[in-house]
Amino acid sequence: MMTLQEIKKSLFTSLWFMFLTFPIMVIKVNTIEKTIEWRWERMAAVGLGAFVLSFVWRYLIQRKEAGKKRAEVGSEDKVPLIPRLMSDRRFYMPGLMATIVMVVAFPFVFSLYQTNVMITALIYVVVGLGLNIVVGLAGLLDLGYVAFYAVGAYSYALLNVHYGVTFWMALPIGAALAFLFGILLGFPVLRLRGDYLAIVTLGFGEIIRLVLENWNEFSFGPSGIANIPKPGLFGLDLSLQQSTTFIYFLMIGLALMTIFVVRRLQDSRIGRAWIALREDEVACQAMGIDKTRTKLSAFALGATWAGMGGVVFAAKTTFINPTSFTIWESIIILCVVVLGGMGSILGVIVGALILILLPEYLRAFSEFRMLIFGVILVMMMVFRPGGIISDVRRTYKFEGLGNKAENRGE
């Protein structure tokens, strides 16, 4: 289907991008030594890349349009592959078994390093599921999510330094403090419209980070807090290997608990209120749902999980400072949720595993990490807003009505 016209179009795109990226990609000036470096080979690469990508882009747009048309005509919706596999007993049970075996065996089979990477990924699973409540279910874009993560981490670290509070005490305290912060921050800002909310939460995230950085007497400033103890197991002396394994299982437990709670929440009265609010605020209020309270509960519950994640993060790394809690951390967590699928639990888990494990094993491309995250955010929104594993909406069919329902188009 490559017509002359399409080739012409792509050529034009290619030229346009060569023009567009010319100064920044090609010229590099050294103002101190007063030299200019011309990197023409990059221009060729951009031109070629843009030429090929423009075909891909057009194909994807066409496919999306076709998909939209099919949805409008109302032909039979295909259930996506993964939920279909999951509802099939033949695949579900063996799959579950294999997952359990793999999860249990992981720290004994793989090295300490691998286990540590996996723990990080699991922290992101938990935190991502927390953000999923806010962004995916309630549809509130929270760009300051990392602030609650910081609250959790710092509450454990500071309570430990000053009062010797242990990990197990700090976990609920950190969660509770994050919950409290969620309410405190959420209360004034949740009346705002969606896009203001994003900016204000971003502002709050930065405020917390700047305060942690500048208020030396309270938070030890940019130098951070070191020697935070790892979680204890009934006062046993654990070797490094053992304690890592222990944290791993602790995270598995925490992740399972999170999945359980989020699932129950999703199907509860409040969960349905969140989804309804995400879809249409005005209709929701007309049905008698208290907008502020519902939003606040989503915000605060999301914050709670960030708090727990923060406590574990502090315990795992044994050292924290404000640079771990920048706005980009919030955006990585957002990326996890968006890539995996907003509102879908399995999606968020898959998203976290992909986004955290892949960069870990593709060290060579590590400098491109954030660039690729940016591309992922844009591409997912343009082509697959539902994420890799999109949330399956519960639908009810009116079998008996037949023609009438078809005529109305839904």
Partner: protein, 300 residues
């Protein structure tokens, strides 16, 4: 008194800078109701392009006011091209879908552009030569205000007047107002909405680039991250003035510039950014529509 005057003029400079960025924000928001997170990055790209042009021309032996003028023009053209392309890639396919999607796409674009400049150029701060000539009449009051600052004031005032003329008296301005009021209706009466939106992005982006070159000349350095905080603050200013309103954006920017300047001058400079954010939260709580904005009611 001199200290007060210094802070006042410093605030005016800050305010003018914010205004050059905030105008683009407010124009885009007025037309497609989207916070263009990538706007700060456009500003940064403008500053970078300007730096590259200045350096190349200086090395070729040019060394006059012409260099800064050419640099500013090239920066404006390039930023306009970036703005146009970004709209086509990241926002246009999302028109008509949920607002959350467009917002996430904008954040992705901002992240992408930052890292694009970081990878293609450098992560270090680059020194920015100031080629704006020293006016002789400024000499006696040099300790209070510099020539660069005067150029910034004049540029902001000119941009403001130009935009007002554009929006009030030209055909395109009329079309822009129509699209801002009701996109579907504008389409029905024959306004080419796609063209209007592209035009808005082009104008907004080139103003940001002008700001970028001037600010970088004033501050004397630039890196890939300067757009982010500047963008956020300009957004604060736009909201403060009433988002969607052009005089509001300028007024909000000036108010923010002065409050920041006096706050850092008299109270503390450690928490400058914290203060700007707290200011934003307070505005949004007590006067969400901003100083000159009208409060909207949701129509069902």
């Amino acid at each position: 008194m001199d200290y007060f005057l210094e802070l006042f003029l410093g605030g005016l400079t800050r305010g003018s800078i914010y205004a050059l960025i905030a105008l683009g924000y407010t124009m885009v928001y007025g037309i497609i109701e989207l916070i263009n997170f990538a706007h700060g990055e456009i500003y940064m790209i403008g500053a970078f392009t300007g730096l590259i042009v200045i350096s190349v021309l200086t090395l070729l032996g040019w060394n006059t006011v012409a260099v800064i003028v050419i640099a500013a023009l090239v920066a404006m053209i390039y930023s306009a091209a970036y703005g146009y392309t970004i709209e086509k890639i990241a926002y246009k396919p999302l028109r008509g879908s949920q607002r959350l999607s467009a917002l996430i796409s904008a954040i992705g674009m901002s992240l992408f552009l930052q890292n694009y400049v970081l990878l293609a150029q450098t992560s270090n701060f680059l020194p920015y030569p100031n080629l704006i000539p020293e006016f002789t009449f400024v000499k006696p009051i040099e300790h209070i205000v510099r020539s660069t600052e005067i150029v910034i004031y004049i540029a902001t005032a000119l941009v403001m007047v130009g935009l007002t003329v554009l929006i009030k008296f030209t055909r395109m301005g009329k079309a822009m107002r129509a699209v801002a009021q009701d996109r579907d209706m504008a389409m029905l009466v024959g306004v080419d909405v796609n063209r209007v939106i592209s035009f808005t992005f082009i104008i907004g982006s080139s103003i940001a680039a002008l700001g970028g070159v001037l600010v970088a000349s004033h501050i004397g350095q630039v890196n890939y991250y300067v757009g982010f905080i500047a963008g956020i603050k300009a957004f604060v200013a736009a909201v403060l003035g009433g988002i969607g309103s052009m005089p509001g954006a300028v007024l909000g920017s000036l108010v923010l510039g002065w409050t920041e300047s006096f706050f850092t001058g008299y109270i503390s400079s450690d928490y400058e950014d914290v203060f700007a954010f707290i200011f934003l939260v307070l505005i949004l709580i007590f006067r969400p529509a901003g100083i000159l904005g009208r409060s909207q009611t949701d129509k069902v």
